[in-house]
């Protein structure tokens, strides 16, 4: 049984002009200890996916259909108490800004002990010992002192390490990290990513890494899911997605990176911008920016189909794959 199984998840946002779909029936699975990257630009729905998995969506967003099976239980059907019990305990989340998660008026130790004692029947001293061990695990120098410090006394990188330690506090099965290093400097980002990878590997924790940075995804995850305008458009092994992307958008995204073009030359840009929720085109949401657009793309949204290592939602790719055997035969 997979750790997490998402089926036809649809999330809508209530607005003046009726409910607008921010997630359009997405489905994916995550095995135990697997690391999945969700890549997309702002507005693709990747953060909303993370929030929906934790049942953290707030108004005007709501889950409109589908199921999220986490260890066999449907998160969408859980009572508030069950959700509280699941969060932090079995599923933890790391946000972009550590100051959002850390309470500025409590010391690091107080926050960690409080979290532990809320979920486990531990004495204060026992909880503090566990907190100390976890801080050591994330290579925090002099963890004893850190426990009595306030979040503002620590640097950004240190805070994010503490967030990781706190996420691991109750030995969760799954960590959802939403842009965990976007607010950090490059040198610190690399450290944090390495730490996250190491922690997930050594503790057999599943990871969903939500990011816009393909470089980060390539270093940390085994599988990658590319999202565009509330849909999954391509998913597969990270290596094959980066080395041999199928969907025109994924190709465009990778080709647009400055590393892919010799210095001084024009970058290969994708024209236009992602459609907004209120102005979603018919058919394939990418057709307004796609070089391979056909009438079929404008009419119907392509289904996700499996081809070898990757699953792609694109009429053009489907057609190429269908035609391929014929060409080979000729």
């Amino acid at each position: 049984m997979s750790l997490l199984s998402v089926r036809d998840l649809t999330v809508k946002f209530a607005s003046r002009d009726g409910a607008m779909a921010a997630l359009n029936g997405i489905s994916f699975d995550l095995a135990r200890g697997e690391r999945l990257g969700i890549v997309g630009e702002s507005g693709a729905g990747k953060s909303i996916t993370g929030f929906a998995l934790m049942n953290l969506l707030s108004k005007p967003g709501f889950i409109d259909g589908g199921e999220i099976l986490f260890e066999g239980e449907d998160v969408t059907q859980m009572s508030p108490k069950q959700v509280r019990d699941m969060r932090g305990n079995r599923m933890a989340m790391i946000f972009q800004d550590p100051m959002v998660t850390l309470n500025p008026v409590l010391t690091i130790g107080q926050q960690m002990v409080e979290t532990l004692r809320a979920h486990r029947n531990l004495s204060f001293e026992e909880a503090r010992q566990i907190a100390l061990v976890k801080l050591k695990e994330v290579y925090i120098p002099s963890p004893d002192e850190r426990l009595d410090q306030y979040p503002h006394e620590l640097s950004g990188g240190m805070r994010q390490r503490i967030i990781i330690a706190m996420a691991l506090l109750l030995d969760p099965k799954l960590i959802i990290a939403d842009e965990p290093t976007t607010a950090l400097d490059v040198t610190i980002q690399a450290d944090i990513m390495e730490l996250l990878l190491e922690m997930c590997q050594s503790n057999q924790v599943g990871l969903i890494l939500i990011t816009h940075d393909l470089g980060v995804v390539s270093q940390v995850t085994e599988r990658t899911m590319v999202m565009y305008a509330g849909r999954i458009i391509e998913t597969g092994a990270t290596r094959s997605i980066i080395n041999d992307p199928q969907h025109p958008y994924t190709q465009g995204l990778i080709n647009a990176l400055p590393q892919q073009t010799p210095p001084g030359q024009r970058l290969k840009q994708i024209p236009g911008a992602m459609p907004t929720l209120s102005a979603m085109p018919t058919g394939c949401p990418f057709h307004t920016r796609c070089a391979h657009v056909t009438d079929e793309c404008k009419r119907t949204a392509p289904e996700v189909s499996q081809f070898g290592d990757t699953a792609v939602a694109c009429h053009e790719v489907h057609r190429l794959q269908r035609d391929l055997p014929k060409e080979v035969a000729q």
């Binding site: 630009e41 240190m158 690399a190 816009h212 390539s218 270093q219 990778i254 024009r266 024209p271 911008a273």
Partner: protein
């Protein structure tokens, strides 16, 4: 001071410094210590003794991590804040300290593009008004029709449909807004553009569009750029020369190709190794230990000493001076000077 404008650098920055006072009022600056009331003012040392040149047609990139003073340098060059010390010369004339009307001719030559396209356009003005205002202000003699034509030409050149004049910024996407911001800078036909992280607030596919536009504009208008960024992959693609800053001090200045093929300063090496690469599947970067000092209490020695694996007693005590190397790059590092860096295989 005079030099040949044809061959001399367009922009010369000499010994630039900027301090921001933390305790501004008289009462705030009074401190009680050791039984006596003394007057102390704390200051953030944002930029410390920076010297560099920008030649005509160059795209000089200033890189560094948050708090290294790169935006402060940009704002001083653009004349938004005045330096605490040092000189800025543009086209042979000193420009720091100019005020009011004296600045006006310079404003037509040096323009700026900002980081956040959601904040850099006035939300209460239409696109048309945003572009028309500087045109009218700087060309008081011209007729309405001429200005209109100019506005339309600028909009077309940055790929914005002139029919959008009546729209407000909030109706446009981030990439479109950044195009408008570039168009606004181009309305006055500048020679020099200071771009403060112009693409870091944008999505990857949009970043490419804006970078391409900036390259096109460089060719079309013969622009010179001072480009502030934290993204090294953009630097490699866009810049002709790189200035690496750490805590307000210069670590290394080099041609882009030299810097990327042969980085010398330990910080530059760490920075380059930390950029996530598409092709590796394992992070393989130089780990920096230690904490970044605060810019309020700067260390006496090398600012990077607290994190540098090669730091010794000299680094902690004496601040290294920027020294020119054989390949033209300038490096401020005792380890490089003493050739300790080659002896140690710490990568």
């Amino acid at each position: 001071m005079s030099w040949d404008l044809e061959t001399g650098p367009l922009l010369r920055v000499r010994g630039l410094e900027k301090r921001f006072d933390l305790d501004e009022g008289l009462l705030e600056s009074l401190k009680f210590s050791g039984g006596k009331i003394t007057r102390q003012t704390r200051a953030v040392h944002a930029v410390n003794n920076i010297t560099f040149d920008v030649n005509k047609g160059d795209a000089v990139c200033v890189v560094g991590e948050s708090g290294c003073g790169k935006s402060t340098v940009a704002r001083m060059v653009a004349g938004l804040i005045s330096p605490s010390n040092g000189e800025i010369h543009y086209g042979g004339a000193r420009i720091d300290g100019l005020r009011g009307k004296d600045l006006l001719p310079l404003r037509k030559k040096i323009q700026m593009i900002f980081q956040n396209p959601y904040a850099s356009l006035n939300p209460r003005m239409t696109i048309g008004q945003t572009l028309a205002e500087p045109l009218r202000y700087h060309n008081p003699g011209k007729s309405k029709g001429e200005l209109q034509d100019k506005a339309i030409a600028v909009m077309k050149s940055v790929g914005i449909d002139p029919a959008w004049s009546a729209r407000y910024a909030h109706e446009l996407s981030g990439g479109q807004r950044q195009r408008i911001a570039i168009a606004r800078a181009l309305t006055v036909d500048p020679e020099f553009i200071v771009a403060d992280e112009p693409i870091s607030a944008l999505d990857v596919s949009i970043q490419a569009q804006v970078l391409n536009l900036m390259l096109e504009m460089q060719e079309a208008h013969g622009l010179t750029y001072l480009f502030i960024t934290h993204d090294l992959s953009v630097v490699e693609h866009f810049g002709t020369k790189v200035i690496v800053l750490y805590l307000g001090s210069i670590c290394e200045v080099a041609d882009t190709r030299t810097l990327f093929s042969n980085p010398k300063h330990p910080y530059t090496k760490a920075l380059l190794s930390a950029v996530p690469q598409l092709k590796d599947d394992r992070p393989n970067h130089i780990r920096l230990k230690g904490e970044i000092p605060t810019p309020i209490n700067l260390p006496a020695g090398c600012p990077f000493a607290s994190r540098c694996p090669l730091a010794d007693n000299r680094c902690a005590a004496e601040k290294p001076m920027p020294l020119q190397k054989d390949d033209g790059s300038i490096v401020a590092c005792h380890a490089v000077e003493e050739k300790r860096i080659d002896a140690l295989d710490w990568v």
